[in-house]
Symmetry: C2
Subunit: 465 residues, 2 copies
C-alpha cells in the first residue's frame, strides 16, 4: 500500500517514464527553436544566497520563497542563509552583473530549469515547475521584442499549436492611459488589477472593481469609456465576414493604435510606449507573426519589474497563459549598480504539457516502448549467449532489453508484451545449432527464424525502426 511516507512532498510530482518522455520532447523542441534564433544556454544553481532573492518579487513573493536552514552548529538558530530559485530572471540579472566582462555585448540566453514557489497547490499549480526562458540583454531596440515574440511563437508552432493569441501591451502605455484618465499614481496598481479582469469579468465587472478600489467619478468614467470602446471595436470585427486575404487582426491593431494615440495625446512616456508597440508590430510582420498578435491595453502582468512592452500567449482552453514576458530595464541595475536594458519571455512547461496531453498532441511523435527488442533467456547455461546477442544488436544501434532471469518462455513473452516491446528474440537450442535466432512479433504473433546476422534487419524492417 502506498503510504504518506512514500508520496512526493506536497505540491511536487514524480515523473514516471511516459511523463518524462513528454516533458523532454517539449523541452527539446523549444531548445531547437531557441538555438535557431542564436540563443545560448545558461544554467544557474537551484540554490541562491537568500539576499539575492529577497525583495525582488514583492511582499507576497518573499513569503513564497523556500528558505534553507543554516547548517551545522548554526542549524539550531532557525535562521536561513540560502533559498530555492523563485524564477530564472533574477538569477540571470545576477549572472549578468557577475560575468559582465565575459559576456557578449548583447547576451542572448535561454534557460530551461525548475523553479520553486510555496504556493498553495491547486489544479495545474505546483510547487516545483519548469520555466523555459529566453532573454536578450544589452539593447533597447524593439528588434529584441520582435525576435523574442517570434522565437516563442515559433516554439509553440513547432510543438503543434496553431490557435494561440499573442497579447501585447506596454507598461508606459498603461501609465499614459491612467495618467490621462486622471487616476493618481498611487492608485495605478489598483486600476491595473481591475483592468486585468476585462477578459473574465467584462466591462461591468471592471467598472465595479474600479469603484471598489476607490477609482471613481470622472477618471473611472474616462477609463471605462476608452476600454468599452476597444471591446466594441473587437465585437464589430467579430461580426463581419471579411473573406480571405483581409488582415482583420492588422485592422484591429491599427484601430487600437489610433485610439491609444488619441487618448494618450501628448503624454510623453505613453506616446513613446505607443511608438514601441507600432515598431514591434512592424517588425513582427517581417517574420509573419503579426497575424497572431493582438494589442490588448488591458494586459497588465503581475511582476513589478517590467518597464516596457509586456506580452502573453494564450489558448482558449487554458485559464492563464502558456507563457509571458516583457521588458525590464532596471532589474540588472539592482545587482550591478548601473542599468542594463533587458527583455525576456518565459514559456511554462507544465501548462504546455497539460494542453498538449488534453488535446492528444503527443501521440505520433513519441517513443512509447522502452526497447526495440527483448532478448529472452533460454536456460541458466545460455545466459552469456543472450547477453552476447544483445551486445551485437546494441552495437548496430537497436535498443535492446535482456530479460534477467531464466523464467518460463511464456512468462518472458508476457513481460515483453506488457512493456510494449514489439519483438522478442529467442535463442533456443535448435536455433543456436543452426546459427539462427527466432524472432517473435508480439503484435502479430508471427514467429520466424532468421540468421543471427540478419536479426537487426528483420527487426528494423518489420518494426519500421
Amino acid at each position: 500500500m502506498p503510504s504518506a511516507k512514500t508520496q512526493p512532498a506536497r505540491g511536487m510530482r514524480d515523473f514516471l517514464p511516459a511523463d518524462v518522455r513528454k516533458r523532454e520532447y517539449v523541452i527539446r523542441v523549444i531548445k531547437e527553436v531557441y538555438e535557431c534564433y542564436g540563443f545560448e544556454p545558461l544554467e544557474t544553481p537551484a540554490v541562491e544566497n537568500i539576499e539575492t532573492l529577497m525583495g525582488k518579487y514583492g511582499e507576497e513573493g518573499n513569503q513564497l520563497i523556500f528558505k534553507i536552514l543554516k547548517r551545522g552548529e548554526h542549524e539550531k538558530t532557525g535562521e536561513a542563509d540560502l533559498a530555492l530559485r523563485y524564477d530564472l530572471t533574477v538569477p540571470l540579472a545576477r549572472v549578468v552583473a557577475q560575468y559582465q566582462n565575459e559576456l557578449p555585448k548583447f547576451f542572448k540566453r535561454y534557460q530551461i530549469q525548475p523553479v520553486w514557489r510555496a504556493d498553495r497547490p491547486a489544479r495545474g499549480r505546483f510547487r516545483e515547475f519548469y520555466q523555459c526562458d529566453v532573454d536578450v540583454l544589452g539593447s533597447r531596440s524593439m528588434v529584441v521584442e520582435a525576435e523574442l515574440i517570434a522565437a516563442a511563437s515559433d516554439a509553440l508552432v513547432a510543438l503543434g499549436f496553431d490557435d494561440f493569441t499573442i497579447r501585447l501591451n506596454h507598461r508606459q502605455v498603461l501609465t499614459g492611459i491612467l495618467d490621462q484618465a486622471g487616476v493618481s499614481r498611487e492608485k495605478h496598481d489598483d486600476a491595473l488589477i481591475a483592468l486585468d479582469k476585462m477578459d473574465k469579468a467584462g466591462p461591468e465587472g471592471v467598472a465595479r472593481e474600479l469603484n471598489d478600489r476607490g477609482i471613481v467619478d470622472e477618471s473611472a468614467v474616462k477609463l471605462m469609456h476608452f476600454f468599452e470602446g476597444l471591446v466594441g471595436a473587437q465585437h464589430a470585427l467579430d461580426l463581419v465576414d471579411f473573406g480571405d486575404g483581409i488582415d482583420v487582426q492588422g485592422a484591429y491593431n491599427t484601430d487600437v493604435l489610433g485610439r491609444l494615440v488619441e487618448f494618450i495625446g501628448s503624454h510623453e512616456m505613453g506616446a513613446s510606449g505607443v511608438d514601441d508597440l507600432r515598431q514591434i508590430l512592424q517588425f513582427a510582420k517581417a517574420s509573419s507573426v503579426d497575424q497572431r498578435i493582438k494589442l490588448d491595453p488591458t494586459l497588465a502582468r503581475g511582476l513589478a519589474y517590467y518597464t516596457g512592452a509586456i506580452i502573453e500567449m494564450n489558448v482558449a482552453d487554458l485559464v492563464g497563459s502558456l507563457g509571458g514576458g516583457g521588458r525590464y530595464d532596471n532589474l540588472v541595475g539592482m545587482f550591478l549598480g548601473r542599468d542594463v536594458p533587458a527583455c525576456g519571455f518565459s514559456l511554462g512547461l507544465e501548462r504546455i504539457v497539460v494542453v498538449m496531453s488534453e488535446r492528444d498532441m503527443f501521440s505520433a511523435q513519441l517513443v512509447s516502448s522502452p526497447a526495440d527488442v527483448m532478448v529472452t533467456i533460454w536456460n541458466e547455461d545460455s545466459i552469456s549467449e543472450s547477453i552476447a546477442l544483445a551486445d551485437e544488436l546494441r552495437n548496430k544501434g537497436l535498443r535492446v532489453d535482456v530479460y534477467p532471469e531464466a523464467d518460463k518462455l511464456a512468462k518472458q513473452f508476457k513481460y515483453a508484451s506488457a512493456r510494449g516491446i514489439q519483438f522478442v528474440a529467442v535463442l533456443g537450442e535448435d536455433e543456436r545449432l543452426r546459427g539462427e535466432v527466432a524472432i517473435k512479433d508480439m503484435r502479430s504473433g508471427e514467429q520466424t527464424s532468421v540468421k543471427r546476422t540478419d536479426v537487426e534487419n528483420a527487426v528494423r524492417k518489420r518494426g519500421r525502426i
Copy 2:
C-alpha cells in the same frame, strides 16, 4: 565590479553557454547508451519530505542534508519539514514503493538530475552536482550487474574513454574475508576503512591503520598476508610481457577468485559472494567488458546500504572515481515493508567533464558558435528586411542571429567575429535592388554577393554545416 552579492552561493556554480554545451553533450551521450540498454527515464522532485531522507545516509549524511524551513507562520519555529535530494537512490526506493502497481516487474530506470550536499567545498567537490544513475529493480540475477557494468562502460567508451578500470568487489566477500581472518563484527567497518587505502597507502600504510584501529595480532597478520599476496600477484603480472592475445586481466581475476575461495573456505555468505563475482565475470565476457574488470578485494565503497556486488570505475588521472554502484537489496524495504532486490550504478557528471576538459576530449564534437549566420542591420528603415531574411534562413534550418541595432557595419562585423559567428549577411541598398545579399566570411575575410534564395546554400557549402 563583481561583488560578493553577485556570486553564486558557496560551493555552487553558474554554467555559461560553453560549459552548458559540454555538460549537455555528456548527458546526451550517456542517455543514448542507457536507452540502448532498455532503461527508461525517471525524474523526482528536488525537494523531499525530510523524513524520507533522514537516517538513510548515516550520521554524517544527516548533517550534510540541506533542510528547508517551514513556511508562513511556522517559519519562526526554525523547524524544517522538507530537504533537498541527497542522492537519486533513496528517491528511487520511495518511487518504487509508491507506484509498485504501475511499474513493470523489472524496473529499469535512468535518472540524470542534480543532488545537493552541504560538504565543505574543495577542488572538484561541489554542493550541487549531477548524478547519472541507472538501476534495475526486481531481480537478484547477476545478469543485472553485468548489464549495469556494460551500460556504464559503454557510456564511458561512447564519450571517448578507453583507459578506465572497472573495479569489482562484493560486500559478502568482504564479510567472509574479515570473519575468516577473525576480525570481530563490530570491527568490520574499521577494517574496511583501512583496507580501502591499499591503493594510496600501500601494505605498510594499511598495516599501520589496522593497528591504529585496534585490529591486531593474528587477525591483522592473516588479513595482511592475504592482501599482500594479491598485491604480489599483480606485481608479478605487471613485470611479464605476455605478448598479444593473452588475457592478462582474465588470468589475474582467475587467480584472485582462487585465492578468495581458498581464504573464505566454507564461509557460506562469503562463498555465495564469490559465486556472484564469478558469474558477473562470465556474463561480462559476453559483452566484452571483462577485459576492463579487475577484481579488487580492497574496494569497500562508503554507503551503508550496499548488500552485494560493489563496483567503481576509475582513470589514473583522477583521484576518486568516475562512477560507482552496487547491489542494495534492503533499501526499498525501508519504504515498502518488504524487500525488493535492486542494483544500480551512478556516473558523476562533474568528474567526467573535468577529465574530458583536461584531456581536451570535447574539441571536435561541440558546436562552439551561437549561430551559423548573423544578419546585419543596414539602417533604421531596413530593419524589417533584415528580420525577414533571418526568418527565411531559420525556416531552412539555419541558426541565425540578428544584430539588434543600426550600428556602423564595422561594429556589427566585429561583434560577429567576437562571438565566433562565421558568416555575416549584409542587405545593402544595392544588394536589395538586385535581390541579392552580401555574405562575408569572417574567417577568410572574403565577401561575395549571392541571390537571396542562394544564401542558405552558400553558407552551408562554405561553412560545412
